[in-house]
Amino acid sequence: MNQLIKMDQLRKLCLVFILVVPSFAFAQLPYGLLEDKPYDGTELTFLICCPAAKQFVAWADSVDEFTDLTGIEVFFTNDPLGGLREKIVTESIGSPGSWDVTIYFETWGPSLANFLEPIDNFSDQWSPDLSDYPNATIGMATLDDTLYGIPARSHVMMLYYRQDVLDELGLSVPTTWGELTAAAQTITEADNDMYGITMNWAKQGGGISLIPWTNVLRSFGADQYDADFRPVMNSPEAVAATEMYANLLNYAPPAAVTYNEGDARTSYASGEAAMVLAWSWAYEVFQNPEAAEQVVIDNTGFTPIIPGAEGPSAPVAMTWPMAISASSNNKEAALEWVKWMTNPDLDLEAVGSGQTVVANRLSSLYSDAAAGSWDSFSEAMGDAYSSATPLPVYLEFPEGSDILETALSNIAGGADVAETLNSAATDIDDVMQRSGRY
């Protein structure tokens, strides 16, 4: 922490140096920002949601510094997350040029591609260091070999568990899905008023209930789609994986069939269950005294999903790429803002100061500052990213994910796994054909 403050001061000093002594011929702006304020006075509109997210608060706080350096003013729109995609699309169609920069969920990428200016189009002006990012997140910001945005908020799935509960029952941290099922059963049957695992099976829209399931599929060597985006979620491996995943409901709170992602997090944080599959940022929740019981804060262990002999450890990752509007009138100025927002110091500072656990760059995750604030968690995140796989990103996602969420919801209600997945695969096949994919 101390070190961080020092670094922060150093950066401020740097800034003072830059501002006070602009006449130095070799005074160079950091992060490839352009000299001499070529876009002085430009106003940028940043389409963004969730003003309370810790990381975004840090972004908003850094605007003044950016304006000092470049003369560009930036306004955050703070739209509701639930309407962000609608907002991006309707603004782009109905009022081109009304926004300059946005962040989006990677799964929206193909449906937004028409409205985004690929970062690759600026390659003569800026070459960001992509090697510092996990392959999975860069992969999701890339469509048809073209980079559309820079990962600006990324997560990877982790398995969280209660060390005290495992110890008490003489269990070790599960390393395969078989062990996990056994542990969940032991914990549920033990006399401790606690369920083995908590899950989110509710239809939530946006394909959210598919995320933990996709982890399980991949650990069993199955997947939602093959390389040509033909549905393979009804393969024998996928059916076996889904049956195992559905079987876990026996060791989960009865409400798990109606839990969405947030409910599952809260359920674990309240001590209702001893394990949960959740995003890496959930660690912030599990360490927050206002949101989690003290016994959870003290005893939460974590491991990347899911180590095991039954299949590859392939945790799912996700990201919000930051991208520039194709209809923007200020694309060059917007690029300056993207350079600034994705700079390594901002990334490091957020995680290093303990403000948030979210970091996009491997160098930040493996830094001493991150370890100082989050102990071994950041490093574990980094390790998880190294084997992480992207969520399927495809144009038909809104239809495909809805069909699959409906199928999972039906399975939670007791429908036959193989039959349900078969009919889902047929429906998706229709969608793909109508869309002209094959």
Partner: protein, 287 residues
């Protein structure tokens, strides 16, 4: 009835506003409903396709399902709203200070936005944590194992409850007005003849209230048949597609899949259904 030109002066501003802000946009939608426009693939409509979008609707299992759901949902909501409304009206009518206070509270639920209502009901129904679930488990132990929003029937029922919670009391106020207009001599006469309270209610009160109940039913039918917010906030259409209403389906097609041509056709179909419905109602009301 009078026949000067003053009537046109009276109606002109309203008609002007409605033509510009409602008729013109709706004509655009009518036009779009005959075109193909997948917004995410093309910035402008992709050409006329005749009645394809309409034909597609009636071959679309999800659309037919949403019609069924909407019908059940609307019927359920209208039924419970009226039961609650009549119960409230009959009980509040007897003047007492308590009754006057209750009357003042009846408008409150209606003033709460559907979004907040949806999220709140969802939280209050969460199995083992929600307050409504906790209370119902206490009152009806045999329902302890029912996970409300995971059960196709109960999910639809509670979505309806979040609506008749507001429309019941509001309908109650309207029915109360009709009740006050009934000549109380009729009730006295019936009592003198020795009819029980219940018989008076069924044979005299209800038939006299029929016109008002129909008005309330019309309003509720029209409002609940376009339900969307509660689906989004309470169930996202689940379990399965058991609570996916027509308007939610249109939202999904228009704003998730961004198929504006198809969504426009669906919107036209929904509007046609509602126009026919209001016509039928108005015939029933006039007779």
């Amino acid at each position: 009835m009078r026949t000067s030109n003053f009537k046109y002066v009276l109606l002109l501003p309203t008609l002007l506003i409605l033509v510009v802000t409602t008729v013109l946009p709706i004509l655009q939608v009518v036009n779009l409903s005959f075109q193909r426009w997948q917004i995410t693939r093309s910035l402008t409509p992709q050409g006329y396709v005749g009645f394809d979008n309409y034909v597609r609707a009636f071959q679309d299992g999800d659309f037919l399902n949403s019609l069924r759901v909407t019908f059940t949902y609307t019927t359920m909501t209208a039924f419970f709203s009226i039961v609650v409304g009549v119960f409230i009206a009959v009980n509040v009518q007897r003047g007492s200070i308590f009754a006057d206070i209750v009357k003042a509270l009846l408008i409150f639920p209606f003033a709460i936005s559907l979004t907040l209502r949806g999220y709140s009901y969802r939280f209050m129904l969460l199995e083992g944590q929600g307050i409504i679930d906790t209370m119902l488990d206490f009152l009806f132990p045999f329902m302890q194992n029912v996970v409300w929003l995971a059960n196709p029937f109960w999910a639809l029922f509670w979505m309806s409850a979040a609506l008749f919670w507001a429309w019941g009391p509001l309908g109650g106020l309207m029915i109360l007005g009709a009740l006050n207009n009934i000549d109380s001599g009729i009730f006295e006469a019936a009592k003198v003849d020795g009819a029980s309270d219940w018989r008076v209610f069924v044979n005299i009160t209800l038939p006299l209230l029929r016109p008002m109940i129909l008005v309330v039913a019309l309003l509720i039918t029209l409002f609940s048949s376009r339900m969307f917010d509660l689906v989004l906030t309470m169930t996202a259409g689940g379990p399965g597609r058991a609570t996916e209403t027509l308007n939610y389906f249109i939202y999904r097609v228009g704003f998730q899949i961004f198929d504006m041509g198809y969504a426009s056709a669906l919107a036209m179909i929904l509007t046609m259904i509602l126009i026919v419905l209001s016509y039928v109602y108005s015939r029933v009301l006039l007779d």
